[in-house]
C-alpha cells in the first residue's frame, strides 16, 4: 500500500471509530427527540440532571468503582510482585482462565455463588456483592498491567538493597514500589473504567442499592430512544476521555 492510500485508509477507520460517538454527542443538543435537527437545546441535559434515579445510580457506580479499584489494585499489585521472580502455576492458570471466561459465564457463576452462600449466611445481595464481583474481574487486568511493568524493571536494585541489609519488605516498599507507581496508576485506571462500564455481571448480581449507571442506560435504551441517554452518554464519553488524557499527561511528565 502506498503511503497516501494507507493514510486515507487510516482516516476512514478513524472516522468509523469516532463518528458514531460524535453524532451521538451532537444530537444530545437537539431540541427534537427525533433524528431531525430542530435547534440547539440543553433540555436533555436538564432532564438527566433532575432525574433522581440517574443521580443515585451515578453515585452507586462511582462508589462501586472506587472500592473495586482500590481492592483489586492492592491485591493485583501484590500478586504481580509475587509472580515477578517466580511463577506460580496455579495462580497464573487461574487468572488466565478467568480472563478468558466470557462475561455472561462469570456473571451466572457469581450469581449462583452469592445466592447460595449468602442464603446460608443470611446476607443480602447489594453493593458489597457487586464490589466483590468487580474485584474478581478487575484483578486479572491489574496483574497483567503491573506485571508487564515489572518485567521491564531490573531486579538487581532490589537485590542490592537486600545485600545492604534491607528486609524483603523494606526492599519492596522503598525500592520496587516507587518505581512501579506509573504501572500501578495505569492498572488502577483500567480497573476503574472497567468497573464503571460493566453491565453484564452487575445486572445479574445487583440487589438493593446497587443499580449502576450502565443498568439505567440499558433500561432507557430498552424503553426506546430517550435523548437523555445521548446526553448521559456524552457526559460519560467526555468525562472519561478527559480523565484518561489528564492521567496520561501526568504520567508523561513524570
Amino acid at each position: 500500500m502506498r503511503p497516501s492510500a494507507l493514510g486515507l485508509y487510516a482516516s476512514l477507520v478513524y472516522a468509523f471509530l469516532h463518528l458514531p460517538l460524535l453524532v451521538l454527542a451532537v444530537f444530545s443538543f437537539n431540541r427534537s427527540r427525533l433524528t431531525r435537527w430542530e435547534g440547539f437545546s440543553l433540555r436533555w441535559y436538564e432532564g438527566a440532571w433532575s432525574d433522581r434515579a440517574l443521580l443515585a445510580a451515578t453515585a452507586n457506580s462511582l462508589t462501586i468503582a472506587a472500592f473495586a479499584t482500590v481492592l483489586s489494585t492492592v491485591i493485583g499489585t501484590m500478586a504481580a510482585y509475587g509472580l515477578w521472580k517466580k511463577r506460580s502455576r496455579w495462580l497464573t492458570a487461574s487468572l488466565s482462565v478467568s480472563l478468558v471466561t466470557p462475561e455472561i459465564v462469570t456473571a451466572v457463576s457469581l450469581l449462583a455463588l452469592f445466592q447460595m452462600v449468602f442464603r446460608v449466611l443470611h446476607l443480602q445481595l447489594g453493593m458489597h456483592t457487586v464490589v466483590l464481583a468487580h474485584v474478581s474481574f478487575c484483578l486479572v487486568y491489574v496483574v497483567m498491567v503491573v506485571l508487564a511493568r515489572l518485567r521491564t524493571m531490573d531486579a538487581s536494585f532490589e537485590e542490592a538493597a537486600q545485600d545492604l541489609g534491607a528486609t524483603p519488605w523494606q526492599a519492596f516498599r522503598d525500592v520496587t514500589l516507587p518505581m512501579l507507581k506509573p504501572g500501578i496508576l495505569a492498572a488502577a485506571l483500567l480497573a476503574f473504567t472497567t468497573s464503571l462500564d460493566d453491565y453484564v455481571i452487575t445486572s445479574l448480581v445487583a440487589g438493593v442499592d446497587s443499580e449502576t449507571l450502565p443498568m439505567i442506560i440499558y433500561g432507557m435504551a430498552r424503553r426506546g430512544v430517550n435523548p437523555a441517554v445521548n446526553a448521559i452518554s456524552t457526559v460519560i464519553v467526555f468525562g472519561l476521555g478527559i480523565l484518561i488524557v489528564v492521567s496520561q499527561r501526568l504520567e508523561q511528565q513524570r
Binding site: A56, R119, L125, R222, G224, V225
Partner: protein
C-alpha cells in the same frame, strides 16, 4: 495522597444519599408509578423509599427475588406469577387489617381468580396486549392482519414468548393458556410464517420507532402504547378482533422482608383513590379501583400460571422460532 482524598471523597458522596430514616425497598417496572406517589409517601411517613425500576420482563421479578435474600420488600408480580411465587415461599401473607383502602377495589378485582381472598397479592394495575398502529398501517383490526406481506419489514412483535404465542393462539381460536402441545405447535407454525414479514422482536423500545414512522404497527401492551399515543396523537391502539391477553400486575410483600409494617403502609397508600388515579394516569395502565373498563375485558382472556411442562415446551418452541 491526593488520590486517596479523591477516593475518600467519592465514598463520602455515596454516603450522603443514605439517611437515618427508615427505609423501604421497592422494585418495579419503569414508568409504572406516578412520581408524586413516591415523594408523597416519603413525605407523609417520613421514610426513605428506594424505588428501583430495573425490571424489564415479568419473569425477572422471580429471577431477582428467588434467592430469598434479595433485600427487596415490595414487589409487583404479574397475576400468573403469584401462584409460583407463593409456592416457592417468596411471598408473605398480606394482613387485611392493615389494608383498609383495599375496599376501593372495584368489580372482579375484589375477588381475582388468581388470588380470590387477596391473601398474597393485591391487584395494582391491569391492561391488555394489542397493537399500536401508526397512520401508514392503514386498515388494521385483527392479529391476522399482521401477517400481510404489505407490512414486510414494518411490523414488530413483542420479545416475550407468552405474548407472541397468545396472539397466534387467538388467531387459531384457541385459549392463550392452552396446555395442548398440538395447539402450541400450530401456533408456532404461524409465528414462523410471520417471521418472514417481521422486522424484529422488540418490547417497549419499539415505541419511538412507531412514533418516528420506522415501524407501522407493533404488538404492545396497552399502557405503553397509550404513552406513545399521548406523544403522537395520530397513532392508535387496536384491540384485536380475535381476542387478546389480559394481565394484572399485583403488589405483594416478600416473605424475606424485615419491614412488613411499612410495606403494608405503602401498599395501603397505593389504594387511596387519588394515588391510584395518579398511578394509572402516569403509567396509562388501568386501575383496578376504576370502573367503566368492562369493554376491555369482553374479548380478553387472563393469563394463567403455565404448568412446568407447558412452559418448557413453549421455551423450546420459542427458541426454535428465534433460531429460524
Amino acid at each position: 495522597m491526593r488520590r486517596r482524598h479523591f477516593f475518600l471523597g467519592l465514598t463520602g458522596l455515596a454516603g450522603c444519599t443514605g439517611s437515618g430514616k427508615p427505609r423501604l425497598n421497592v422494585i418495579n417496572y419503569s414508568d409504572y408509578i406516578a412520581r408524586e406517589t413516591l415523594t408523597g409517601f416519603e413525605r407523609e411517613f417520613g421514610v426513605e423509599l428506594r424505588y428501583s425500576a430495573v425490571i424489564e420482563g415479568s419473569e425477572e421479578t422471580i429471577a431477582r427475588t428467588m434467592s430469598g435474600n434479595s433485600g427487596w420488600d415490595v414487589v409487583f408480580p404479574e397475576n400468573r406469577l403469584v401462584q409460583p411465587m407463593r409456592e416457592m415461599g417468596l411471598l408473605g401473607r398480606l394482613e387485611p387489617a392493615r389494608l383498609p383502602n383495599l375496599s376501593h377495589l372495584a368489580g372482579l378485582f375484589r375477588k381475582p381468580a388468581w388470588d380470590p381472598a387477596i391473601e398474597w397479592s393485591a391487584p395494582y394495575l391491569w391492561s391488555c396486549c394489542g397493537i399500536l398502529a401508526g397512520e401508514p398501517a392503514g386498515e388494521l383490526s385483527r392479529w391476522q392482519d399482521l401477517w400481510q406481506p404489505r407490512y414486510r419489514g414494518k411490523i414488530t412483535m413483542l420479545d416475550e414468548p407468552s405474548e407472541v404465542f397468545a396472539a397466534c393462539l387467538k388467531i387459531l381460536g384457541y385459549s392463550i393458556n392452552t396446555d395442548s402441545p398440538e395447539q402450541l405447535r400450530r401456533a408456532q407454525e404461524l409465528a414462523l410464517e410471520q417471521k418472514q414479514v417481521l422486522r424484529a422482536y422488540l418490547n417497549t423500545e419499539v415505541r419511538d420507532q412507531v412514533v418516528a414512522g420506522d415501524v407501522w404497527a407493533a404488538q404492545l401492551w396497552q399502557g405503553s402504547a397509550q404513552l406513545s399515543i399521548d406523544q403522537a396523537p395520530e397513532l392508535r391502539f387496536v384491540h384485536p378482533a380475535e381476542g387478546y391477553s389480559l394481565y394484572c400486575d399485583c403488589v405483594g410483600v416478600l416473605a424475606e422482608s424485615r419491614r412488613r409494617e411499612l410495606a403494608h403502609e405503602f401498599i395501603n397508600y397505593l389504594y387511596r383513590p387519588e394515588v391510584a388515579r395518579a398511578n394509572s394516569a402516569a403509567s396509562r395502565a388501568l386501575s383496578p379501583c376504576a370502573t367503566g373498563n368492562e369493554t376491555v375485558l369482553e374479548r380478553g382472556e387472563w393469563f394463567q400460571t403455565a404448568s412446568g411442562s407447558t412452559q418448557r415446551l413453549r421455551d423450546r418452541l420459542w427458541t426454535e422460532i428465534k433460531s429460524a
